[in-house]
């Protein structure tokens, strides 16, 4: 059972995506992570997909990940991870990458979901010192790769890649419906055992269609940030945003995938964000007051 303790006035998370480790760049990435940790002062690091993307050997992956995470290890900051589509393009299997990352010092392995087809779906509870029931749940989802994989897994006799799709024409997979149901059930189970709604933060790599629509509302007070490139999102909506809103428990839904887009907005009581990739920016997602939680995003 992973353990995270809420020790300060706020709980600070440094989510990172698109690190894109390879055999050559680990030292450079490590130095950037060290700077981010110094300025962000996080309690936890979330590797939110595309930590790997370029072809690497198992040995290179292990060495580069260990190098990257040296600053976190030295500062005593634990990390969790989830996979994006990049992990499926680096030439190593999910099992091998999972084994590499989970063997590194500071890795917190989530309670893994059993009934989903997401490899890295899981939860990490955050507790106050000396308390048994969680005050915050961090929920990680695997967003798979592209819709071709979705079709492969469920055997569509048709095609998902239409020239005029509902959302963006990048045909990405995302949080599927079976993963959404896992959240529904698990959230209810946690509420039943805790006797109250426990607030949650979601982290996953590929944005939802609802994320992609947020910049259409630039200029409204609830929107903050910029878009510098075309927005990309899941093609077949798995319903996770509406499920999160209906649950009344989700504080924020933090995604990545895009390189230079950097925006968030408040929608239906949730802060929904698309963070820039590792080389283009970083956020601290902090939660204040576990009894009356509010989420804040700082650009660092």
């Amino acid at each position: 059972m992973p353990e995270l303790t809420w020790k300060r006035a706020e709980f600070r998370i440094l989510p990172l995506h698109g690190v894109r480790l390879d055999a050559e760049n680990a030292a450079e990435k490590r130095d950037r992570l060290a700077a981010l940790i110094r300025s962000g002062d996080p309690d936890l690091l979330v590797l939110n997909g595309d930590t790997f993307r370029s072809p690497v050997s198992e040995k290179e992956a292990m060495e580069s990940a260990r190098t990257l995470l040296e600053p976190a290890r030295d500062a005593g900051i634990p990390f969790v991870f989830t996979f994006g589509e990049g992990e499926r393009k680096c030439g190593l299997t999910d099992e091998v990458l999972y084994g590499i990352l989970s063997s590194l010092p500071g890795c917190l392995l989530p309670d893994r979901a059993e009934e989903t087809d997401g490899f890295t779906d899981g939860t990490v509870p955050v507790r106050r010192e000396g308390k048994s029931s969680p005050v915050l749940i961090l929920r990680l989802f695997d967003t798979h790769t592209e819709t071709t994989a979705y079709e492969r897994d469920y055997g569509s006799p048709g095609r998902s890649r239409l020239p005029y799709p509902l959302y963006t024409p990048h045909y990405m997979d995302g949080v599927r419906f079976n993963q959404t149901v896992w959240f529904d059930r698990d959230h209810e189970r946690i509420e039943a055992s805790s006797g109250r709604k426990v607030p949650e933060l979601f982290f996953f790599h590929t944005p939802t269609p609802e994320h992609a629509q947020l910049p259409l509302n630039q200029g409204r007070g609830c929107f903050d940030g910029v878009t510098r490139e075309e927005r990309k999102c899941q093609t077949v909506n798995g319903g996770i945003t509406m499920a999160a809103a209906e649950s009344g428990a989700v504080l924020a839904v933090i995604c990545g995938h895009e390189e230079r887009n950097d925006y968030y907005a408040d929608w239906a009581g949730m802060r929904m964000g698309v963070e820039p990739s590792f080389d283009h920016g970083a956020w601290i997602v902090s939660v204040r007051d576990p009894d009356n939680p509010a989420v804040r995003i700082e650009r660092i």
């Binding site: 079709e151 469920y154 055997g155 569509s156 006799p157 048709g158 095609r159 998902s160 239409l162 020239p163 005029y164 799709p165 509902l166 599927r176 419906f177 079976n178 959404t180 149901v181 529904d184 269609p209 609802e210 629509q213 947020l214 259409l216 509302n217 409204r220 609830c222 077949v236 909506n237 798995g238 319903g239 996770i240 945003t241 509406m242 499920a243 809103a245 209906e246 009344g248 408040d266 929608w267 239906a268 009581g269």
Partner: protein
């Protein structure tokens, strides 16, 4: 969760496949009767003509019975329901319904419908928001416990504000609709999509295999609008004369149906002058055009969607738009006044 089909479905009339292993479901919608005067007299005749022409085994009304939520008197409402139920009742055709966004719950009590012997509508589980989310099983034979098909029906509610109120959601919740062509008229909630998933899974556990089915609701899914955007690749048939009025939010129901792999068709109402159908990821998405005369519509498309479920090929039902103009004798009244209120 265990599955007890008898407790969860209407056992009033047992629907069964015919001697050819087929079952014909006619979806109609959008009658939009006025609240302060009687409905156009052609409506019941149109329903009867469609029933005769299609030889439907079940008629599913996908809502918007009334334009303004409720009628000005209970007597008028009871007479109206009797008038539109009449064609089914006199022919012995079972029928059921879901509410549309114009049908306020307080103005559309299900007991008025259920007073008719062939009505098999249900309110559905109390745990779900709204009313009219339920399943209708079609059995292979009169003595079979196991359904051969399931018709899943959903309340699609009235608007995003109603959704927000239901779940205590604070503003802003409406801006996702800004420029995507989606409207805020309502839609199936996520809780209902999950209900389908859980009950379908329970049924699979109960019977040892998936039960094929189709779905119906008043407001189309967002995915319905993919069909007219991509007519050739979705093998679109029928017509589009107004943009598909799909919801601002997506509950994941299409993804649920796709991942379960047992839904062949999803039929909606709501848009009055669309009769299109097309396939996306193996599931046919269609709209049934308005049959009503008291609202905008067109005689050219007036009709309903007929889906013929077949035991011989359960995931590939026949699906056609049944045009009223093709019904024998229908021309005697539908073109009587050159009526075209589009």
């Amino acid at each position: 969760m265990e599955m007890d089909l008898k407790k969860e479905t209407a056992d009033r009339i047992r629907l069964t496949l015919d001697e050819n292993g087929e079952f014909r479901v006619l979806f109609v919608s959008d009658f939009h009767a006025p609240s302060d005067r009687d409905w156009d007299e052609r409506l019941p005749r149109a329903i009867g003509a469609l029933l005769d022409h299609t030889k439907a085994d079940l008629c599913v009304n996908l809502g918007d019975f009334i334009s303004d939520g409720e009628m000005d008197s209970e007597d008028r409402f009871r007479r109206y329901v009797s008038a539109i139920a009449g064609p089914c009742e006199t022919r012995g055709v079972p029928w059921c319904h879901v509410p549309g966004n114009h049908d306020h719950e307080e103005g559309l009590p299900t007991e008025v419908f259920a007073a008719h012997p062939h009505c098999i509508s249900l309110r559905g589980p109390d745990s779900l928001p709204g009313y009219g989310t339920y399943m209708v099983p079609v059995h292979g034979s009169p003595d079979s416990d196991e359904p051969a098909f399931v018709i899943w029906l959903f309340d699609s509610h009235r608007g995003t504000g109603q959704w927000a109120e239901e779940y205590g959601i604070t503003a802003p919740y409406d801006f996702a609709a800004a420029t995507w062509g989606f409207d805020a008229g309502g839609g199936v909630y996520h809780a209902q999509a999950r209900w389908y998933w859980e009950r379908d899974l329970a049924m699979e556990r109960r019977y040892g295999h998936k039960i094929p089915g189709i779905m119906g609701m008043h407001i189309p899914l967002q995915e319905h609008s993919l069909i007219p955007r991509n007519p050739s690749l979705t093998f679109m048939t029928g017509e589009l004369e107004e943009s598909a009025g799909v919801p601002a939010f997506n509950p994941g129901l299409f993804a649920a149906a796709y991942e379960r792999g047992d839904i062949s068709a999803i039929v909606s109402g709501h848009d009055h002058i669309n009769s299109f159908a097309g396939k996306y990821m193996g599931i046919e998405l269609s709209e049934d055009a308005s049959l009503g005369y008291d609202v905008y519509g067109t005689d050219r498309l007036r009709g309903g969607r007929l889906i013929t479920l077949k035991a011989s090929d359960p995931m590939r039902p026949d699906s056609v738009h049944a045009y009223l103009k093709d019904c024998p004798g229908a021309g005697d009244f539908i073109f009587r006044e050159g009526h075209d209120n589009a």
